[in-house]
C-alpha cells in the first residue's frame, strides 16, 4: 500500500517537474530573444537610431522577463501549497 502511495507521489512530482522544465525553457528563450529583438526593433522604429534608448529598452525587456519568472514561481508555489492542503483531509477520510 505504501509502495503504491510512493509511486503515485513520484508520478505527481514528475507531472509538476515537467511543467517546470517547460517554463524554464520558455524563460531561457525569452531571455535570449526579447532583449536583442527589442534593442534592434526599438532602435530602428522607436528611437530613430538613438542607441542609448535602445539599450535601455533592451534592459527593460530583460528585467520584465525576470519579473515574469519570479511572479510565475511564486504563483505556482502557492497553487501547489493550496492543492496539498486540499488533498490532506481526503487522506484522513480514507483511513
Amino acid at each position: 500500500m505504501s509502495e503504491q502511495a510512493a509511486i503515485g507521489k513520484l508520478a505527481a512530482q514528475a507531472d509538476q517537474s515537467e511543467g517546470a522544465l517547460f517554463k524554464l525553457m520558455i524563460t531561457a528563450l525569452a531571455l535570449g530573444i526579447a532583449p536583442l529583438s527589442s534593442y534592434f526593433l526599438s532602435r530602428d522604429y522607436l528611437w530613430n537610431g538613438n542607441t542609448i534608448y535602445a539599450a535601455l529598452t533592451a534592459i527593460l525587456a530583460a528585467n520584465l522577463v525576470l519579473v515574469a519568472y519570479i511572479t510565475e514561481a511564486v504563483r505556482e508555489e502557492s497553487l501547489s501549497r493550496a492543492r496539498d492542503k486540499r488533498r490532506e483531509p481526503e487522506n484522513k477520510k480514507d483511513r
Partner: protein
C-alpha cells in the same frame, strides 16, 4: 603619432570581447555556485525548485547586460576613419561592463548558494534572497550605464585628417 592609427580597432574589438568574456565568467560562476545549492535543496524539497532557480535566472540577466553592451559597441566600430580616442572609449566601456558583470555574478553565486540552502529550513528567507539578489544584479546594471555613457561620447571624436 597620428590620430587614427591602423591599430585603433584593436582596442575597439578588445572592448567588445571583454564585455562578453568577463560578464560570462561572472555568470558562469554565479550559475554553478547557486546550482550546487539548488541540487542540495532538490533532494529535500523538490517542489521548491522553481523558486530556488531565481539566482540562475538573475545570473542570466547579467549575461544579457554583457551581450547588449557588446552589440552596442560593435555597432559603432568602423574599418576606416576610426580614431584612437574612439578605440579607447570602446575598450573602457567594454571593460566597465565586463568587470562589473564579473562582480555581480560572483555575488549572485555566493548569495544564491547560501540562501537557497537556508530556504530548505525557513521559507521567509525567500524574500530576503530576492532582495539581496536584486542589489547584486544592480552592480552589473551600473557597469552597463557607465558603458552607455562612455559610448555616447564616441560621436564627439573629430574625423581623421
Amino acid at each position: 603619432m597620428s590620430v587614427c592609427p591602423p591599430y585603433a580597432p584593436f582596442f575597439g574589438f578588445g572592448g567588445v570581447a571583454s564585455a562578453m568574456i568577463f560578464s560570462t565568467v561572472g555568470v558562469a560562476y554565479g550559475t554553478s555556485k547557486s546550482g550546487i545549492g539548488i541540487a542540495g535543496l532538490g533532494t529535500f524539497k523538490p517542489e521548491l525548485i522553481m523558486k530556488s532557480l531565481i539566482p540562475v535566472v538573475m545570473s542570466g540577466i547579467i549575461a544579457v547586460y554583457g551581450l547588449v553592451v557588446s552589440v552596442l559597441i560593435s555597432g559603432g566600430l568602423k574599418a576606416t576613419d576610426y580614431s584612437l580616442y574612439a578605440g579607447f572609449i570602446h575598450l573602457g566601456a567594454g571593460l566597465a561592463c565586463g568587470f562589473t558583470g564579473l562582480a555581480a555574478g560572483y555575488a549572485i553565486g555566493y548569495v544564491g548558494d547560501s540562501c537557497v540552502r537556508a530556504y530548505v529550513y525557513e521559507s521567509k528567507v525567500f524574500v530576503t534572497m530576492v532582495l539581496i539578489l536584486i542589489f547584486a544584479e544592480v552592480l552589473g546594471l551600473y557597469g552597463l550605464i557607465v558603458a552607455l555613457i562612455m559610448n555616447a561620447r564616441v560621436s564627439e571624436a573629430s574625423g581623421c585628417p
